[in-house]
């Protein structure tokens, strides 16, 4: 019987609340956690810069991370919250700079690991497709609303 690492299992259960992963069974999530790493980061450290290539997504396990764009704070992320999944999948640049504002522990899943998981595990791939379809639906609605608003403005 394989030894179950309780720390890894804890991260897996946290990951189950994130939209990209919430359709996955716990054993798949456990495997996903094995593809990433847990990092302890002091307060005040920059995790990623706005405009940089998105090379990983993050799940906050404890502490707090501030997301700021053009120098202005947009939002903070605390335990159980994450960021960066979409940019990693779409290969877009970071929309925000992420900086710890407390001593923080994060689960970090690199882009290469996500790509490997998608290629090698049908369940992860199906979860990614479902997540992207939902993102696409939302983006299409936003485009449609913006287009209508622009047409109304012209009239």
């Amino acid at each position: 019987v394989e030894h179950i690492d309780p720390r890894r299992l804890h991260v897996a259960t946290r990951l189950a609340d994130r939209p990209l992963f919430d359709r996955l069974a716990i054993e798949t999530l456990y495997a996903v956690v094995g593809a990433g790493e847990i990092r302890a980061i002091c307060s005040g450290q920059v995790l990623c810069e706005q405009g940089a290539s998105a090379d990983a997504c993050y799940l906050v396990l404890s502490g707090e991370v501030e997301l700021a764009a053009d120098g202005e704070r947009r939002i903070t992320r605390t335990a159980g919250q994450g960021f960066g999944e979409l940019e990693v999948l779409t290969d877009e640049l970071r929309p925000e700079t992420a900086r710890t504002i407390a001593d923080t522990e994060c689960f970090v899943l690199p882009r290469e690991a996500i790509e490997r998981l998608i290629a090698g595990d049908a369940n992860v791939a199906n979860a990614a497709v479902a997540y992207l379809l939902e993102t696409l639906r939302t983006a299409s609605e936003q485009e449609s609303q913006r287009r209508k608003a622009a047409q109304e403005a012209v009239r």
Partner: protein
């Protein structure tokens, strides 16, 4: 176009380019060749989706709320989003010229996605590409 010619064509369609040869051959064998006159509607926004299309020749206008938002050309596929979603068409499609296309039904795609890691990756890449396109268009509005 015979099945062998279709296979060679599918090798250059991004959605199917990385699919194994047996996968491409299966699609080539099961796809149905269909043609449209200029101005003819392939499907309307909101229609139920039962297939996707690969353009062999000609151009197709993609319509959102009656406005053309994209123009698809030979070697490109469209209609896969609603097929994957099992939902209604998110946009309409109308032939902008004489169009020759391959029609691939949902069941064929679903079977291949279940068995092919390459196609799953291709679908993820196609969806991310669509998202980037929509976001880029939205930023200009």
């Amino acid at each position: 176009m015979n099945t062998t010619e279709r296979v060679f064509f599918l090798k250059n369609v991004p959605l199917f380019a990385r699919l194994s040869l047996p996968g491409q051959a299966r699609i080539a064998a099961l796809a149905e060749e269909t043609s449209f006159r200029p101005g003819e509607t392939l499907f309307r926004q909101g229609d139920p989706a039962d297939c996707l299309y690969v353009i062999l020749d000609g151009e197709v206008a993609i319509l959102l709320d009656g406005h053309e938002i994209n123009r698809m050309k030979a070697g490109e596929s469209f209609g896969e989003v609603a097929v994957l979603n099992r939902g209604p068409r998110t946009a309409g499609a109308r032939a902008a010229t004489d169009v020759l296309a391959l029609r691939i039904d949902r069941a064929t795609i679903a079977d291949l996605i279940a068995t092919s890691a390459e196609l799953r990756l291709a679908v993820v890449n196609e969806l991310t590409s669509r998202i980037r396109g929509i976001r880029a268009r939205t930023r200009t509005l």
